[in-house]
């Protein structure tokens, strides 16, 4: 079963109540928030209603909050090659 990975890129400020209702139904509250929904006709229709605001990707499984944070973390860029005796 695959999932939609939906990220809100444009804010809903100043948009009609119906559009904001669709975002609320998707569970999107603020910009750059990411939610996962199973690929169903319902979620596809909701995404089409707000397609100008969100970026959508199809993924195999939903990621947890911890994994999403880990995606954004930059790599350390170093490793300890020779440590002094401690």
């Amino acid at each position: 079963m695959s999932y939609f990975r939906i990220t809100l890129h444009r804010s809903a400020i100043g948009l009609p109540q119906r559009t904001r209702g669709v975002l609320a139904a998707l569970g999107l509250r603020k910009r750059c928030q990411t939610v996962f929904h199973p690929v169903t006709p319902d979620s596809a229709g909701m995404i089409l209603k707000v397609k100008e605001l969100v970026a959508v990707e199809e993924v195999a499984r939903p990621l947890t909050t911890k994994e999403l944070r880990e995606e954004r973390r930059p790599e350390p860029g170093f490793w300890v090659e020779r440590a002094v005796p401690r």
């Binding site: 930059p74 170093f78 300890v80 002094v84 401690r86």
Partner: protein
């Protein structure tokens, strides 16, 4: 030994290494510089097949195209131009530690904006994440990172340094009580002990 030999041969062939950078040269000298570099570049690496540069574009060996070339072309240009970069005497590198860039060269001392956990003075760190590697005349830009097999960059932990104590007075309105908040941060000091360019393994 072979590197120093190669360097001396290069300096004999290119008297240009002693010239000031191209932006300081007069415009007439600039054009001669570029043509000289065109002639010299294949002479140093005779084994490689040289691609003649497009005739009408102004050739500047220090700059690459702003758009990232396709990977095959990039690999070819690395195999051709990396020996030239490697033969130059001093190099700099933009190493990234926790995503922040530090433009350093060998012998530099840098103060990280944080205290690195789990290291002691004397530890040798290997920096393997870099976006730019260059010398006086050549620059290798990563897309976005440079292959870490091309260079070896080591940094020695010198210790920690602390800033002077900061004192912040906090006061709420309509209340005489004021609070004194202090902070004193520590920062890790690194010295770039080694920056070496390796032979590309093709």
């Amino acid at each position: 030994m072979s590197r120093s030999l190669l360097r001396s041969v290069m300096e004999l062939r290119t008297p240009l290494t002693r010239l000031p950078p191209t932006f300081l040269l007069p415009s007439r000298a600039l054009s001669t510089t570029t043509t000289m570099m065109q002639n010299v570049a294949p002479a140093i690496s005779p084994a490689q097949t040289s691609i003649p540069p497009p005739p009408n574009t102004p050739l500047n060996p220090q700059k690459q195209a702003p758009m990232a070339p396709p990977p095959a072309e990039a690999a070819e240009s690395i195999s051709q131009l990396f020996p030239l970069l490697r033969a130059q005497p001093r190099h700099y590198i933009t190493a990234h530690i926790h995503g922040r860039p530090y433009l350093v060269t060998e012998g530099d001392q840098i103060r990280l904006p944080f205290k690195m956990p789990g290291v002691l003075p004397g530890d040798v760190l290997r920096l393997d994440r870099a976006s730019i590697l260059g010398s006086r005349d050549y620059t290798l830009k990563g897309t976005p990172w440079i292959d870490s097999a091309l260079f070896e960059c080591r940094a020695t932990v010198l210790g920690t340094e602390s800033e002077p104590m900061r004192i912040k007075m906090k006061k709420k309105q309509r209340n005489r009580r004021s609070q004194r908040v202090t902070s004193k941060h520590k920062y890790t000091i690194l010295r770039i002990s080694e920056l070496k360019l390796l032979e590309p393994t093709v």
